[in-house]
Amino acid sequence: MVTILKPEEFYVSSEADIVNDVSMTEMEDEIMEDEQMGLVDGEDVLEEFDKSIHQNLVTPGQLVTDDPQFMRGHGTYFEDGGIYASVAGSVQRVNKLISVKPLRSKYVPEIGDLIIGKIAEVQPKRWKVDIGAKQNAVLMLSSINLPGGIQRRKLETDELQMRSFFQEGDLLVAEVQQYFSDGSVSIHTRSLKYGKLRNGVFLKVPPALVVRSKSHAYALAGGVDIILSVNGYVWVSKHNENQHSSVSITRLEEEASESIYSNENDEIDGYTRLNISRVSICIKGLASRSLPLTQASITNFYESSLVFSNLQDLTVPKNMDQIAMEAMQ
């Protein structure tokens, strides 16, 4: 077991009056009955609070363990023979490795991750792509498919018309190709599975909620496709019949038409639009309740939401809670 020590001396009772966030917990409600507007004495708050919170939550600078057998992981630092937390979050232990996992953290890229990004900048022979990480990703001109699927070296003429492929603000789906020590990554779209995104809605969820799996692109009922990227960016779009998951390099020229870099959306009928909206609301509902986003959870939530034919009724928090309860059973 992890030796989580008693917090340092600054936790001792204090003369200072403390006002805290009027919270949802029962513990605080009991305190509020006695004290006006949440004005409570420091000692009382901490005694009550320490009983109620999870024991494995730590704040920056708090000693996690001074046991020398443990190794420090992410979210910790080593000082004076002890492992201290460097972020606020929950202590996690895998064998002898101790780490502190913050609830909301920036996406840390790994090679092979499917990610959705937004073009932030066009530079010579490369695009800078915002993928929600510490650094923008780099998409090299040599790492994309040319329209028509032509296999050749990229020339100066291609460099001059880079904005005809991707321009600032465009959304794309890609794969992480290389990871550099400074936190930046190189991505590529050298497959017909990847490329510019059209005919859909963009959503942003905490990356921690997206469960890494074999596939991150799913086709749901009602003619809706979703791409749950590992970096927490989600794309909900109209189902594409002509989506080729894998094409041999000899047939690439036939399959990769000029339309892969088109900015024009296809015609989307009303029924599909409603389904796209419904799936978007379902994903937002799952994310707002800190529930994991998987194909199964989204499908369950979607099916449970069909009780409400009017999408406005679906957005009511009480109804959302009811659906979440049903979907998670």
């Binding site: 917090p7 340092e8 001396e9 600054f10 936790y11 204090s14 003369e15 200072a16 009056d17 403390i18 006002v19 805290n20 966030d21 919270s23 949802m24 917990t25 949440g38 004005l39 420091g42 708050v45 901490l46 609070f49 109620s52 919170i53 999870h54 939550l57 704040t59 920056p60 600078g61 708090q62 000693l63 979210g75 630092y77 000082e79 201290y84 460097s86 972020v87 606020a88 979050g89 929950s90 913050p102 609830l103 909301r104 953290s105 920036k106 800078k128 510490k134 650094q135 923008n136 400074d182 936190g183 930046s184 309740r289 800190s290 529930l291």
Partner: protein
């Protein structure tokens, strides 16, 4: 010929009489050792990576943190650059301010940056920049506002989950160099009305017991400064209780589902 468009005053007029402004009344009801009550709310700004709202009676400060994000400059940096921007709202002080950042605000920005940068593990974020925006909605004494801004900025950084060795809490004390009088967490009336020409503002990391920055003004003996520093440290520890409580409450709330 008289000007028809001009409105002439009465032929007999008396200059207006203004009452003498009342001298400021000492409103301090708390002990000299006691700081003001604090309210802290984290994560109020959904678009920002981290945010905090700090309220201490009349002092109201909102802070947001952006980053770590790619640095705008092309020069390579082995560690992140911390940028602080401290701004007073035009209506925050008794004398209305302009919108343009003043020299005083810029110096406060540098002071806050100096106070909180030792706590952040900047080397973990190469080629990046971390931007801290502090907006004072209402101010009640320059010293206490600066101390509150330090605490608010540090709690916003913790909310942004940026790696730091500890949280920095600010503390301020006003003292009279000629007597043994001192006032912890002085408000505007204390600063204006008391015969005090000395002050100490401090940034303190309560968990590690490190002082990040001290600004002292006025004549003060080493023993007196040591005593005042101890008072500041005690006050900073009390503030740290609030930040810890708010942080853990935020995390436990989020973990419940």
């Amino acid at each position: 010929m008289s000007d028809r468009k001009r409105v002439y005053g009465p032929s007999v007029s008396v200059p207006p009489y203004f009452e003498e402004p009342e001298q400021p009344v000492f409103t301090r009801t708390r002990d000299v050792d006691r700081c003001r009550k604090i309210y802290l709310k984290l994560g109020w700004a959904t678009k920002a990576v981290g945010s905090s709202y700090f309220e201490s009676e009349k002092i109201k400060i909102a802070c947001t943190v952006s980053g770590p994000r790619p640095s705008k400059t092309f020069a390579f940096r082995s560690s992140a650059k911390l940028n602080c921007e401290f701004r007073l709202s035009p209506f925050s002080t008794s004398v209305r301010q302009g919108h343009v950042q003043t020299v005083e605000e810029k110096s406060y920005s540098q002071m806050i940056e100096a106070a909180i940068s030792p706590s952040i593990l900047l080397h973990l974020y190469p080629k990046s920049s971390i931007d801290v925006y502090i907006q004072v909605i209402e101010s009640d004494g320059a010293l206490a506002t600066l101390a509150a801004a330090i605490s608010c900025a540090s709690s916003a950084i913790a909310d942004a989950n940026i790696d730091c060795i500890d949280l920095v809490t600010g503390s301020s004390v006003l003292f009279n160099p000629n007597t043994d009088e001192y006032w912890i967490d002085p408000d505007y009336v204390d600063e204006r009305a008391r015969a005090a020409k000395g002050s100490v503002v401090m940034g303190y990391m309560a968990s590690l017991g490190h002082v990040t920055q001290v600004w002292e003004r006025g004549t003060c003996s080493p023993s007196r400064l040591s005593f005042l520093t101890e008072k500041c440290i005690k006050n900073a520890k009390d503030t740290r209780l609030v930040i810890n409580h708010a942080l853990l409450l935020e995390k436990s709330k989020s973990e419940d589902p």
